[in-house]
């Protein structure tokens, strides 16, 4: 009897040892997205979320048995950094997310400690700047370079022979970094400029604009969101005929309506299929339209988000084959993302550098022709 018991105990130990040796298969990867689904800059939230959803659906529908299911859970931060933490906590609590996509630079910075603590990989699919690159090792930026994009605007103004520039920017990191990039290049080239940070909900810019007009400002740069539609209208109402420049956010429909058409002619940096992999980008747009009934209003956010999500999918789909039991999931995924050297995406050929930022997405200069329409500027 005692012998039998010993045999049973040994057998159970053997089974336990066996089960301990097997690295449990990853069945699901939960991905969260925190973005502006309402209030402000919704073109950076709604369509990118759809693009990510499309990428996940395409993967889940064709994945093999051994590949993990990927689930997407979305939270609205109303483009406010204060909203990032509650949204993240909710995603972690309710869905135990493994990877977080967040488009707001301030929000990304806000969550730095939490993602390291929780072992979550954060990916910003819209912005990629030096500030973000200086953050922790779990943060990746699969997007255009904020500084370069705005530097291109500065170069454009220099090439146009503009001598005095007013730069107004929204009080967040992205627009601040963009404004500073413009300011730097202008200053380096001896162009007089003034960088003013507006208030978050400011809609009346008459005083600033009136002052700029009086000081013979030759160009106006509006780095922000739909509130600057009012500024453009107010500028034209003040009789300012100087050219307007804007950031990548001009195609928000509210922006146009707030400007009452004053936005037409504004030059900005933007990204269209022509700037990336034209064939893949058009395929994506067709799929997007087929899935959601319409094309995205502002093209570059969903294009970048689609690439960012597909880069993640391209790596995690082999997790059950490639990840050894000695490596944690977060370490494995971080290492895989850092080794992305040549991903042929809709935005072009993308690589990820050692600081987690990406290279390969390059914006061009465009001009607003009408509501939602841009034309490329030739030098």
């Amino acid at each position: 009897m005692i012998f039998k018991k010993k045999v049973i105990v040994l057998f159970l130990i053997f089974l336990a040892t066996l089960s301990a040796c097997n690295d449990p298969e990853v069945k699901e990867i939960n991905v969260g997205f925190i973005g502006p689904m309402s209030t402000r800059a919704t073109d950076l939230g709604i369509d990118p979320s759809k693009a990510m959803q499309l990428a996940i659906e395409q993967y889940n529908s064709s994945k093999s048995e051994t590949q993990p299911q990927i689930n997407l859970f979305i939270e609205d931060d109303k483009w406010e950094k204060e909203m990032a933490k509650p949204a993240y906590e909710k995603l972690r609590k309710e869905h135990n997310i493994d990877v977080l996509f967040i488009s707001n630079t301030d929000g990304t910075i806000e969550l730095q400690d939490k993602i390291i603590e929780d072992g979550v990989i954060a990916i910003n699919p819209l912005n990629n700047d030096k500030l973000l690159s200086s953050l922790n090792k779990n943060t990746f930026k699969i997007a255009k370079s904020t500084e370069e994009v705005h530097k291109a605007l500065g170069i454009r103004m220099i090439e146009l022979g503009i001598k005095k520039v007013l730069i107004l920017h929204f009080p967040n990191d992205f627009m601040t970094i963009g404004g500073n990039a413009i300011k730097d290049i202008l200053t380096e080239n001896g162009i007089e400029n003034k960088l003013i940070e507006i208030k978050k909900d400011q809609t009346n810019f008459t005083e600033i604009l009136q002052t700029a007009k009086e000081t013979e400002t030759e160009a106006y740069v509006f780095l922000g969101y739909n509130e600057f539609g009012f500024a453009m209208k107010q500028a034209r109402d003040l009789g300012i005929e100087a050219p307007f420049f804007g950031s990548t956010t001009l195609l928000d429909p509210v922006f146009f309506s707030n400007s009452e058409g004053a936005i037409v002619g504004t030059e900005c940096t933007f990204f269209t299929p022509l700037d990336g992999n034209y064939i893949l980008a058009n395929e994506f747009l067709e799929s997007f339209k087929k899935r959601f009934g319409e094309e995205p209003f502002s093209i570059w956010p969903p294009l970048q988000a689609y690439d960012a999500m597909n880069i993640l999918i391209n790596e995690v789909k082999t997790i059950n084959e490639d990840k050894s039991k000695d490596v944690t999931q977060v370490d494995w995924l971080r290492n895989r993302l850092l080794n992305v050297k040549y991903y042929q995406g809709v935005c072009g050929n993308i690589s990820i550098t050692s600081d987690g930022s990406s290279r390969g997405i390059y914006f061009s200069l465009y001009k607003v022709e009408s509501d939602g329409k841009l034309i490329k500027i030739k030098r």
């Binding site: 291109a152 170069i155 220099i158 090439e159 080239n189 022509l274 700037d275 050297k341 040549y342 072009g348 050929n349 993308i350 690589s351 290279r359 390969g360 390059y362 914006f363 061009s364 200069l365 500027i377 030739k378 030098r379």
Partner: protein
Amino acid sequence: MKIRTKLILSFGVIISVLCIEIILNQIISDNAADTYQKLKTQALPTLRILDKFESVNNEFFLLSSNKVYNSNLPLDSQNRLNGILEVELPYLKTELVQLSKNLELNEEISIKSPVIIELTNDLISLGNEVNNLLVLKDDYADSEKMQTAIALVENDISTKHAQLKTNLLILKVNYGNLLEDYQNEFSQNLKSLSNIILITGGLGILFGIGIAFLVIRSISKPIRALNTAALRVSSGDYDADISLNGNDELASLGDSFNIMTSSLKGNFELIKSNNKEIKQQEERIRKVIEASPAAIILMDPTKKISLINKQTEKLFGYSRVDLIGESAEKLIPLRILNKGSIVDDIFSSKNKIDTLGVDQNFYGLTKNNEELPIEISLSFIEIHGQDMILASIVDITERKQQEADIKKYVEQLKSKNKELEQFSYITSHDLQEPLRTVLSFIDLIKEDYNDKLDKELNTYLNYISDASIRMSHLIKSLLDYSRIGHKGKIEMVNCNRILSSVTADLKYKIEESEAEIHYGDLPTIEGYKLEIRLLFQNLITNAIKFQKKTEVAKINISFEDKWTYWQFNIADNGIGIREEFQNKIFVIFQRLHNREAYDGTGIGLSHCKKIVELHGGEIWVSSEEGIGSTFHFTIPKNIE
């Protein structure tokens, strides 16, 4: 040569050809796979990277040159240049390193990859320098910047580009040649493979056809002969022997065939003989059935008659045609059928053999609607899986008459017997009266004329008195004999108690004779109590009486349980009975000894016999003169 050997050899040759083909195919396939592997992992990836490298190198040089000489360089071109510098050239470097790692160190690409990587790094660095120099249109107006930029492009970038291009070109040419060699080798392997398949396939087919022809020919001829012989046998010609040459399986089959035909012939003759015997047996059985004194009817489960014999026709007056296929109920009077179908009863009790008509009145119905008493024995039998009833019918008209006669005689006998017993009783009883008168008068004479009677007359009177007393005893015995069983009733009789009572009654005689009586535990039996007591008393008295003068009588009473009856044994050590007298002792008034020797009436054993027979048992003696006798009697356990 045996067919098996032929087939093994044939297939052996074909399999050998196939094996050779497989081995050659395997060798060449391995070579082809090896070549293909080299193509896949070595030549093609290397050429792909080299092509891409060359293309990017050329594009980079064009874009950088364009950038220097075109102040209106479109932003798209600038972006592309940035893409090459930031993504594509670093990626190609990584790919080249990876490829080198996967290849052997002595591979040309592995040897040259450090040079290519260094040149690429230089180009990236130079490209970034040009990019940084010429950012704005104004930079193009800056002669110093322009001079530097042009120098960078025309000297440094151009040189590095050319060096890289040369290296790439040499590698491309070499790997192109290598690719061509591998392709040729691969193609040659495939061609060789194809030739081997063609040649060995052709040889295999030729061998196959040849062997098939030989084997078919060696098989088909004997088979045809066998077929012809088999057809002859099937048409009844068992003398159809065949002769096949050789010592293969078909020749053996031919021999077996001959043995088979011979055996068939013998078997058919045996069957014929058996059939004849069967027919004879059938005939015998038929004759037995026909000759049976009883009428025999065979019925099927639906009571339809399927067979009858001649006696049936005779008994019932029907012909076979009238009865075959008809219901057996046709032969039973309606009044009996109305009481319930006897045939149905019989069918409901399979395997039961029943008899109708014995101890009961059963009648058959003749064609003339006459009833006749019959006795039927019904037997359930199974013929060819079908339940059947075999009825054996006997006309018992005569027997019935005999039985009636016997019954009449028995009644008459009983009446006579009764009368005789009555006569015996009356006679015995009435005879006592004159005897008593005689004795009374003798007593009176003796009493009244005592003084007048002389001695001789007294003696005569004594003789008359003794004779009368003896006659009285005889008459009394006779009366007792006739009374046996008249007033008794059957009851349970405890033999131990009976013997106890008898020995008590005979106490005086036993003590006087010093006889020893032994008996064990005796059973309780059914019987007439008084008669049983008398039976034991007579036999014990007999044993005491006929004892030897010189020995003490030893009487041993025992019994045996004989399943349906009890057997009692009363053994003594008396004088015994000579064998010739042993049958006479049970006859009434039969004496073996004179009265002077042994007193008695000579009716005791007759009583015993009558008592035993009254109970339905038997009595007999086994004895040896001078040794002793044993009287045996049996009493049935169930007395009717």
